[in-house]
């Protein structure tokens, strides 16, 4: 398992190829990547991500370990950035490796659902008219009931 919390960009291509190459005994690799949406008509200038150093790493590690224990998973990778990101930049990624595609998919969805509402990150959107904290969504909390 690898959990990374960093300010600088990550290389989705290199990360994916390294993760997949490291798990040739697994038949299925799933990745999820989150991107700051770059909408032509959207006034978003930047997204600032605050986090809780120490707790963030611990929370992500616990979420990843739970996924590894719950599904038949060979490995899991979580990378999440903080700081100031502009539209089009990648915020985070997860990857899962399993012998079975169903496990790889479900575990990746689980990682995302928990990471959304249980890892201490907070997003602030900077637009032309001001700044505001992104509200949590009821649907994100509801997503946890699936697990």
């Amino acid at each position: 398992m690898r959990v990374v919390v960093q300010e600088q960009p990550f290389d989705i291509g290199a990360e994916t190829i390294t993760f997949a190459a490291g798990h040739k005994e697994m038949g299925a690799i799933v990745t999820f990547t989150g991107i700051v949406r770059d909408l032509p008509d959207d006034p978003l200038q930047a997204m600032e991500i605050e986090h809780y150093p120490g707790m963030t790493e611990a929370a992500l590690t616990e979420i990843a370990q739970t996924a590894i224990d719950r599904w038949e998973l060979g490995d899991a990778l979580v990378i999440h950035r903080y700081g100031r990101l502009v539209p089009g930049e990648m915020i985070m990624m997860v990857a899962t490796a399993s012998k079975h595609r169903k496990d790889a998919f479900e575990a990746a969805e689980y990682l995302m659902d928990y990471l959304k509402s249980r890892a201490p990150f907070w997003k602030r959107e900077i637009t032309n008219t001001g700044e505001s904290w992104v509200s949590s969504k009821a649907e994100d909390e509801d997503a946890l009931t699936r697990w």
Partner: protein, 81 residues
Amino acid sequence: MDVLYFAWVRERIGIPREQVETSAATVADLVAELRLREERYELAFSDLTALRVAVDQKLTDFDAPLGGVREVAFFPPMTGG
């Protein structure tokens, strides 16, 4: 103990962290003490349903005990991913 604030809780209170001398038994007791301090605390803690709390970097509830605790953090619901 260290008390940390994140996101709009940090903005409302005006500082990211502070040392608090307290004999509060639970998180809820600590919140009650803080609310009495100044209006910015009262404002930050006015709606506990909009807040989350971590004790020694673990998510918990407002009735969590504070015995032996080194760090308490208050923040809004997380919005990562």
